[in-house]
Symmetry: C2
Subunit: 496 residues, 2 copies
């Protein structure tokens, strides 16, 4: 570790107070000119960043491999997802629907009892944002990941707090981003990398910063949320924290697709060595269905290294804690479950034990471990689902004839995304994606950190009353020069 720590220190020294002050001042200076760009102009900036990252793939991926121990194919796929994401936000900018532009013409007879003035409302960027990168997706949730892409798309400058797990990749990616933005004509200060826990917290406390975004652990995310909320001027903090992602197999599904479900589950909970925030951590299966045996006999994948020493040791601690719980027994385990790399582990318990001690048995174990819970009667499932806190995802494997309405109701209340006959890992970047959920899945239940709606986090509404045309934002002018869709006097008009 000493060698690694030294390398890290050389590669990415903590941002000093003086450096941070310069970067914050530059971000604040960039805010107004960046906000003033037309949406389609900001789309060009995102495209430029995406192109530059694609062009730098052969430089970026080897550094990522070295620092994260993730395989090349996975990293190349993740980089592709990352640049696709930047371009998708560009498409959303060109469409303009994200502006939620609304025009109410003056109406002397408005039935409220008083004349309605001319009112026009549009979403505008919040201002500088500090984004805390995650360790487990060194491209997609890091320097140029979803939080950065959606904040820049919204028109908010980004201070990116690098994750210490991949300092060299962070610096290299930031160089590509900064250079691409500069060449594309973005205002200086649109994007900057900062390093070190203290600098991240200081940035979040700074009055020039207007929002925070984070992907990581519950304790880390909660500490930052508390900083953001206790500022003299509290600011929104969009933390994506922890999730157990329970999955429920009905009796009919187990009878119909026993082997397929066992195989799919093993593949999902070990994907990326179990280091996904959407890893299914608990699987409820009918007792006596043969699914427990199928899982016990399933082929576990080869052990894969965890991201870094800190995650390796944390994984070992949590796994040992679970194994020492008398309510849990080992169902199946790969070779060297506590070794580096660790073989996968499936633990086993019963519905009665889960109901008796849900908090301990639902502890998130970041790595290739999951818990299989046998239940006796499908009617228990809603009660079992109720024992979970807020989740990013919840999954049901059923058949069309299963009576699962009550279970769906509970899971839709608990989770941001409910999955049917698929597995929650693999979060597609789309228009309808929702990656969020009630606390502790996130600190902002109304938001998503993946999908085109992620932009909404960094926008705020402004209404203009009685304004002359030439002083209005273009999206609100009568002749609609940007051709954005709008709500005019309560009716949708225009747009593609």
């Amino acid at each position: 570790m000493t060698a690694i720590a030294q390398t890290t220190a050389v590669v990415l020294p903590p941002t000093t107070d003086a450096e941070l002050e310069q970067l914050l001042a530059a971000a604040q200076r960039a805010a107004a000119p960046l906000a003033a760009r037309r949406p389609a102009e900001r789309a060009e900036l995102l495209d430029a960043v995406a192109d530059a990252l694609d062009a730098a793939a052969d430089q970026l991926v080897p550094v990522a491999e070295r620092e994260t121990r993730l395989p090349e194919a996975r990293l190349r796929g993740e980089l592709k997802r990352t640049t696709f994401q930047l371009r998708l936000f560009g498409e959303v900018l060109r469409d303009g629907g994200y502006l939620d532009a609304r025009i109410d013409h003056a109406d002397a007879d408005w039935p409220m009892g008083a004349p309605r003035p001319d009112l026009r409302r549009v979403l505008a960027p919040l201002g500088p944002v500090v984004v805390f990168a995650a360790s487990n997706f060194p491209f997609a949730f890091s320097v140029a990941g979803g939080d950065t892409a959606s904040a820049l798309a919204a028109g908010s400058p980004v201070l990116l707090k690098a994750h210490s797990g991949h300092p060299g990749l962070s610096r290299l990616t930031a160089e590509v981003v900064v250079s691409a933005l500069r060449e594309a004509g973005a205002p200086d200060g649109t994007f900057a990398l900062i390093a070190g826990t203290a600098a991240g917290a200081a940035a979040l406390r700074d009055p020039r910063v207007k929002a925070g975004a984070f992907t990581g652990s519950i304790p880390g995310g909660r500490a930052l949320f508390d900083i953001a909320s206790s500022r003299p001027e509290p600011i929104p903090f969009f933390g994506e924290l922890g999730s157990n992602n329970p999955a429920f197999v009905t009796e009919a599904a187990a009878a119909e697709r026993c082997a397929e479900i066992a195989e799919g589950f093993v593949s999902s909970f070990t994907l990326g060595a179990g280091q996904f925030c959407t890893k299914p951590g608990t699987l409820f299966v009918p007792a006596g269905s043969g699914l427990v045996e199928a899982l016990r006999d399933a082929a576990l994948p080869p052990a894969a290294p965890l991201l870094n020493e800190r995650i390796q040791s944390g994984y070992g601690e949590v796994l040992q804690g679970l194994q020492s719980n008398p309510r849990l027994e080992v169902l199946v385990q790969g070779a060297g479950p506590l070794a580096d790399p660790p073989g996968a582990t499936l633990l086993r318990t019963t519905a009665a034990d889960m109901l008796a001690e849900p908090d301990a048995l639902q502890t998130e174990c970041f790595g290739p471990t999951a818990v299989v819970v046998t239940y006796d009667d499908e009617s228990q499932l809603p009660e079992l689902a109720e024992t979970f806190e807020g989740q990013l995802t919840a999954t049901i494997h059923g058949t069309d004839s299963c009576q699962v309405e009550a279970l769906v109701e509970v899971l839709a209340r608990k989770a941001g995304r409910v999955v049917w006959n698929q597995w929650p890992t693999g979060v597609s970047v789309t228009y309808a994606q929702q990656h969020g959920g009630p606390y502790p899945a996130t600190t902002a239940v109304g938001s998503t950190s993946v999908g085109t709606a992620a932009m909404e986090r960094f926008l705020r509404p402004i209404a203009y009353q009685g304004f002359p045309q030439h002083l209005l934002p273009e999206a609100l002018r009568e002749d609609n020069p940007l051709a954005v869709p709008r709500l005019i006097n309560g009716r949708r008009e225009g747009g593609r």
Copy 2:
């Protein structure tokens, strides 16, 4: 005061712990069935409440007059606004656009690099909400006001913490609401009144409550925000707190419309005896333009009583504090500026003094007082505007030839609504209204508490992945039985 206090205690005793527990349990039980109602069915509930309130006007208004000392015409107008607001949310429910329904069909060739699953996203209610009523709008921001209307429209049960300023009206209004909801078939527990500071705070701390909304003072709102944010499960808290609502008169406007502006300003800052959160508290006028003299000579309206003894005494304290500031002098004052009822007061200072001590000179004075600031050069206005914290509104009086782009940029960054050649008092309930702003105007910069977008506060997104049609919410089914507008594969379809 003793007599009033005794009457209050009799009319609306503090909710006991046991009562609160019953009401919270009922609200939680109501949440799922209320959420399961079709939007158009919830619209019928809102219509029923509106009809019942209109029918009870002759009972409600006299109680409101007695408890708030506001004149009958104002109260009847406010009640009309309140029932209009309920019906407008009903219209939004019937339209269905508020659901932001999105469908992405499965796409094996999705260019992200992995197949896109079938994903469908819709907004759903947060669950039980506690609403803290305001004193200054006993109908529109109280028991059946905008927060209640938007939460019920969203499908979230409401616990309404009554304002102690109008206990009898609160109880009577709540009886009308509860009775109308019951007769219209709403689930028991959809709405309940609670009383007392302790009960309000306890409700906000309760894990069954999923959001809070508030209109009132900065200290009160911040204390509740801190409770909501420091819960084990933090919840969104939509507080609308304080605002100075600065207004800026350009040199050309002052030259062109001196008397009209003076008259309009006096009328606006004294409207409702200055007890509006949108009262323009500061007016910047060009020195030597004659506007100061016009204001000095303007006819002040007759003194009007403040809402209650607490507001009267608070107003006197703040006004005396302002008058004792050597940077402020009295420009004009009605008879008995500290009497009950108080005559209106206009104070006067200079731009240099405002720049020297902005916090003291911008103290919100809830009542018929405002500050006139003379400036020497229009180019000072953006710098003066920068001295303000977050605002609900900011106003410019100008002409089409004024160079105010820089001022508009600052004000749009500071305020939720920017007004041109009108006055900020009178917040129309419309589709494009924005009643919010950066802290301390509100505790949630991305939200509004007036206008149809106010519903968004009480909604959260849920995505359904790979779901069979019969288990999907109706808004997401392929055949669109509710005929709601939707985003399908990134393109807008349907709706009126």
